[in-house]
């Protein structure tokens, strides 16, 4: 027993040997080291992979164009295996051993929350591309995000359902294991009720579910005017097909998780005439978006999802912040991030507000054939 503890102590010493205690500067003459931590294995690997592809594309472009202030970007990525303890370990390793200059990640809020205190502690700016839980950026003044918050997006969808789709009765089908899904569902429900509508059904499913017939039957029995599906494209495509198979033909409505070129083919036509909110609309003919979509398609063979787009933007946000700061100094980069205004990314034009969250408008799109038709833009001021 004492031996066992002795062995542990020895092991600790062995681990300690050869490791420096000082946090590296994160850059040298030629390179700046950026850290990325997303789940590229485990149950949410799809989303981490998409994000990583977007990040790698942006880095490739920036390096080809000469890097950030003359320094090439070096990316250090650790997998978080869809587990918060691995997220915390990855963050600690990025911060203290690799000494990254700025960290990017994670997708799931649970993992961002586990990692954020580490980066905050060492004064390394962390930017999450897609963690929507409001508490993520409350972990400290070095923690930022560039995606929507649940409250804005959920409320925007509710406003759209009410005013544009003229819906009085809404049903919600949420993934009860996913904070993004339940967050959107909660704020949609609250806002929809506040505007005088009724939520006739609020059904849930477990993550990994592929058979939604039970929930669809319940929703159909309440004959809603619209069904809100706060989920990712893979679930949305399946749910839509099962709704249609049971003869539930009302419009379906979703958030930015729907964005993917897989959405329409996977749904096999079941999503025709449905709506979702997104960061950008391809129909906008925004040159920046078009170039991004083309470059992504060329590199990976398919169109980017919203997660890939957010991953792409997060690198450019880092570049912009370093350029605004004027030098490679983490505190100054942090200040530059906090003051970021009118950043034009592929996920729209946005400001960073006083809560260190992105403030941007949402584009509501209608699915018509293979295309997403732009319907209208909802600004943050409209739902507040």
């Amino acid at each position: 027993m004492r031996k066992a503890l002795g062995v542990l102590a020895l092991m600790a010493v062995a681990l300690a040997a050869g490791c420096g205690t000082k946090i590296g500067p994160g850059f040298d003459d030629k390179e700046v080291n950026l850290g990325l931590f997303v789940s590229t294995s485990g149950e949410i690997a799809t989303f981490g992979e998409d994000t990583k592809k977007g990040v790698e594309l942006a880095i490739e472009e920036i390096n080809a164009a000469g890097g950030i202030k003359g320094k090439k970007i070096k990316l250090t990525h650790y997998d978080t295996a869809s587990k918060p303890e691995e997220g915390k370990a990855a963050a600690t390793k990025l911060a203290t051993q690799d000494g990254v200059f700025v960290a990017m990640g994670a997708v799931a809020s649970g993992i961002s929350l586990a990692a954020a205190p580490e980066f905050q502690k060492y004064g390394i700016p962390m930017i999450s591309p897609s963690s929507t839980n409001p508490t993520v950026t409350e972990q400290g003044n070095y923690i930022f995000r560039i995606c929507y918050l649940d409250d804005f997006q959920g409320a925007a969808c509710a406003v759209f359902a009410m005013n544009d789709l003229k819906a009085k009765k809404a049903a919600i089908l949420q993934n009860q294991d996913d904070a993004y899904s339940t967050g959107l569902a909660d704020f949609f429900e609250a806002r929809f009720k506040k505007a005088g509508g009724t939520v006739v059904a609020k059904e849930s499913y477990k993550k990994g579910t592929t058979d939604f017939n039970t929930q669809v039957t319940n929703i159909k029995a309440k004959s809603p005017d619209v069904v809100f599906l706060p989920c990712y494209y893979n679930d949305a495509a399946l749910i839509a097909q099962q709704c249609r198979a049971q003869g539930l033909n009302v419009p379906l409505l979703g958030g930015d998780g729907w964005e993917s070129d897989k959405l329409v083919p996977n749904a096999k036509g079941a999503l025709e005439g449905c709506y979702f909110g997104n960061h950008y609309a391809e129909a906008d003919e925004n040159a920046r978006v078009k170039a991004f979509v083309e470059a992504y398609r060329k590199k990976y063979g398919n169109a980017p999802s919203s997660l890939a787009a957010l991953g792409y933007d997060v690198v450019y946000v880092v570049k912009k912040a370093i350029e605004d700061a004027g030098e490679f100094d983490r505190a100054k980069v942090r200040d530059a991030l906090a003051k970021l205004k009118g950043f034009e990314g592929v996920t729209g034009k946005f400001d960073i507000d006083e809560r260190r969250d992105a403030r941007k408008s949402i584009s509501m799109l209608k699915i018509e054939g293979e295309k997403f038709k732009f319907v209208r833009q909802i600004n943050p001021s409209e739902v507040e």
Partner: protein, 314 residues
């Protein structure tokens, strides 16, 4: 009158939920059969079984893709019947081989070790297959070829997808056929003998290794069919798609009495129907209720519904 109308609606809804549950339960049953067969012979919870199910879905996806029926992005062409047959044959064969290979490499060396050692290698194989699957297939969500056009079939007051009907019919045929095979044929008798007492079976001239290999092959083939059927009905392939299905099917196998093939079928159907019917009132807690029901059933019938009560040798 109003009340009557509502109760009529409710009945229709309940009926619809039962139909949903039967479709869901049929797939549970198909996958549960694999768990139960391996358990019957080796007393091993074959954790990797749900990942063989995942492989089955992927293996039935690739033939269509190789033959050009799965172009990315564009509208998918209808796949001719011979490709479906090809995909089916390929998935079943490849999964059966995978199953036998797993048994040969990871379980057979541990046959005389404690059951838990084999359980851990089974968990290891499961994690390995998921991650190797991710390396080979990538984590990108894959859709499925249009082997069958999904349409809604009206059955009186309810409507079901034709793919769900296919699932129920195929599952019933496969499980029924397997039951007959195990009960009526000589090979089946050898399987039952191995499950009863492996040593005595060997003394009686049964080739135990071959029989166990066959058990894995059949179980894996059933999982492949399950994977293919579910991918037709719910086209979404990911390397981790086996996780939830494995959990449910495993629970179904135990519920029915692990080791018994009719038990696995019954357990699967019961679990599917219970989830759907409870879901009529509340889908949030449907799974929790299903698990409570499971625990209660086990307390009343400690070795599952159709399981043989364990006799204790004194």
């Amino acid at each position: 009158m109003q009340l009557l109308l509502e109760s009529g609606d409710f009945l229709a809804r309940l009926l619809q939920q039962c139909a949903n549950g039967v479709a869901k339960g049929s797939v549970y049953a198909l996958v549960a059969v694999g768990y139960t067969m391996v358990y019957g012979v080796l007393q091993l919870i074959n954790f990797a079984h749900s990942d063989v199910y995942m492989l089955g879905a992927y293996f039935s996806y690739y033939p269509a893709r190789w033959l050009g029926y799965m172009p990315d992005g564009a509208e998918k062409p209808k796949v001719p019947l011979y490709v479906l047959g090809l995909a089916f044959a390929f998935a079943v064969t490849a999964c059966a081989c995978t199953g036998m290979l797993i048994e040969r490499l990871a379980y057979r060396p541990l046959r005389n070790a404690s059951r838990l050692a084999a359980l851990i290698t089974a968990i290891g194989v499961s994690i390995f297959l998921q991650n190797a699957g991710q390396m080979v297939f990538t984590s990108e969500v894959k859709s499925f070829p249009r082997y069958v056009d999904q349409t809604s079939v009206p059955l009186g007051p309810i409507a079901v997808a034709n793919t769900s009907l296919i699932i129920v019919v195929v599952a019933a045929l496969m499980v029924g056929g397997l039951h007959l095979f195990v009960q009526r044929t000589r090979t089946g008798a050898a399987m039952r003998a191995c499950s009863h007492d492996m040593r005595t079976a060997r003394l009686m001239g049964v080739n135990v290794n071959a029989t166990i290999s066959l058990t894995f092959a059949i179980g894996s083939a059933m999982a492949a069919v399950g994977g293919m059927l579910i991918a037709m009905d719910q086209p979404r392939l990911t390397p981790t798609m086996g996780l939830l299905m494995g959990l449910k099917a495993f629970v179904a196998a135990v519920l029915g009495g692990i080791g018994s093939i009719p038990g696995a079928a019954l357990g699967g159907l019961l679990l599917g129907v219970a989830e759907s019917v409870v879901g009529t009132w509340n889908t949030t807690y449907a799974d929790a209720v299903a698990f409570v029901a499971l625990i209660v059933v086990l307390l009343v019938k400690p070795s599952g519904i159709l399981g043989k009560a364990g006799r204790e040798k004194v």
